[in-house]
């Protein structure tokens, strides 16, 4: 069994792809996280439909997350 937060720990300093509740996706390097799944991402790219935005560093509030896929 792999607990969710231990998989996230293994994804530190790696690229992750996030799906958010409003169907946005964020892709970036995971620099940190906490028990709420708040996250710090680096070199972040936001995709909303076919619109792509470069955001750099982002502090994401965990309650917006649907899923996290390590890349």
């Amino acid at each position: 069994m792999v607990m969710p937060l231990s998989l996230l720990e293994k994804s530190m300093n790696k690229k992750v792809s996030l799906l958010l509740k409003d169907s946005r996706t964020l892709e970036g390097t995971l620099m940190g996280f906490d028990d709420y799944l708040n996250m710090v991402l680096d070199d972040t790219e936001e995709t909303n439909g076919d619109q792509v935005k470069r955001l750099g560093t982002v502090i994401l509030r965990g309650n917006n997350v649907v899923s996290i896929a390590p890349k």
Binding site: V2, M3, P4, L7, K21, V65, V66, S67, A69, P70
Partner: protein, 70 residues
Amino acid sequence: MKPLAVLNKAINQQVIVELKGKRGYRGILDGYDPHMNLVLKNAEEIRDSQVTRKVDSIIVRGDNVIYISP
């Protein structure tokens, strides 16, 4: 018959996870925690009953879960 005990028995089995917002996942349950955050492996992401992508492993945040069906 506690929910998390039943979920524990589904470890390493194929599950269907139905989420809010007409989303879902189908995959092998690899782990979970008390928030019902899940780890799925070999998972298919489903949106409006269509498979949108396949991933080796994925963490699903528990607050989106409607039900999990082993």
